[in-house]
Symmetry: C2
Subunit: 204 residues, 2 copies
DNA sequence: GTCTATAGGTGGATAGAC
DNA sequence: GTCTATCCACCTATAGAC
């Protein structure tokens, strides 16, 4: 039952924001009363915190299996981008991107968990980028850390804007272009092809 | 008086979101009652719509003076980035970026105005990028439209994330890196220097 | 675990006096 | 234009029975 509650609340936050949904909304969708919701998650902040943690774990699991897949650097980066793409295709915003917008209205524990999510994304990306640089697959222009941060920011922003237009193409184009910029090896541009591979691991 | 109301409401939305502020908040900050607020803006949607329109005009004016300034292409792009930087330094999110996150909870007229804002930004950027391409200042890898969209998305996302960390440096680094990627002329990277010019036009 | 009932507060919005 | 007073729907949260 806690999982069903989390599923519904997650969808509501990703589409409407933390201040745009209520226990009544969850109650109606799950089919139990508001009071029962409070049994599982005493306060809205508790619910939000559980949600961020679950999201980070599920994202982290997807990144782990990418790391373990033996793909090369560029394929892993495309896999990372595809995690965001799968979110957009459900007409949702990234949970943590949405919460980042509402940051100042959130309980402090949620604010901390939010940063932890972005930190772990950055760590994974830095690892991939530095490995790519060692093997010669990539020649970065700046620091791996700055490239990782730019990629996260660009993907969050691309989700944000694409959703306003209900246009996944906007996201795909921006994602392809930013990957190209990061992957570019000096004079030789990275592959200009649109990242188009089926069957990537998906995250809710 | 309408202007003071708009100023306060704008700040509240840029920091807390459309669903994170109330007429009571505006009332307390402006010093008139909620009922008087309703005289100027009958519904919250009316207030929000006026806000987007004012924001777009003020942004548009800043872009017009950039266009009229005789600066070269790269300086105009840095000026565009600086518009977002000035927002972050007030610890705010872009008004329209914030509203884009809450998009699905907004009245339809606000949703339309939101897209109009992004459209006009894109038009201005496409003009600048294509002019730069004609003069040879830029050699774009893809279409000017896609680069314009990527720049907007990356800046919105950089604001979103940087605000979670209360760290303007994150925004500056991402902005410098994305400009570099767009400005890169084949083998020769764009200027790697941090965009650091004082006295840019500012937007609220 | 789930329910009914309800507390105590805040939301956006209106009526009507001044 | 601004006020007081008020409406009522909705909010988060709790008490206590089953």
């Amino acid at each position: 039952m806690p999982q069903r509650i989390l599923d519904v609340a997650e969808r509501l936050i990703q589409t409407r924001g933390f201040n745009g949904f209520s226990y009544a909304d969850v109650s109606a969708a799950v089919g139990i009363t508001k009071a029962s919701l409070h049994y599982h998650f005493p306060s809205k902040g508790d619910l939000g915190l559980s949600l961020i943690r679950r999201y980070q774990h599920s994202f982290g699991d997807a990144l782990d299996s990418l790391s373990a897949s033996g793909r090369d650097t560029r394929a892993m980066l495309r896999g990372y981008v595809e995690l965001y793409g799968s979110v957009l295709r459900k007409n949702r915003m990234c949970l943590c991107g949405m919460l980042a917008a509402e940051q100042s209205t959130l309980p402090v524990p949620m604010q901390r968990a939010l940063r932890a999510f972005f930190d772990s994304n950055e760590r994974w990306l830095v690892g991939v980028l530095e490995a790519g640089q060692r093997t010669g697959a990539l020649r970065l222009r700046g620091s791996a850390r700055d490239d990782a941060r730019l990629l996260v920011a660009a993907l969050e922003g691309a989700l944000l804007v694409a959703r306003s237009y209900d246009d996944a193409g906007r996201f795909e184009a921006a994602a392809a272009r930013i990957l190209d910029a990061i992957e570019a090896v000096d004079g030789r541009p990275g592959s200009a092809r649109r990242a188009r591979e089926p069957g990537r691991p998906s995250v809710t």
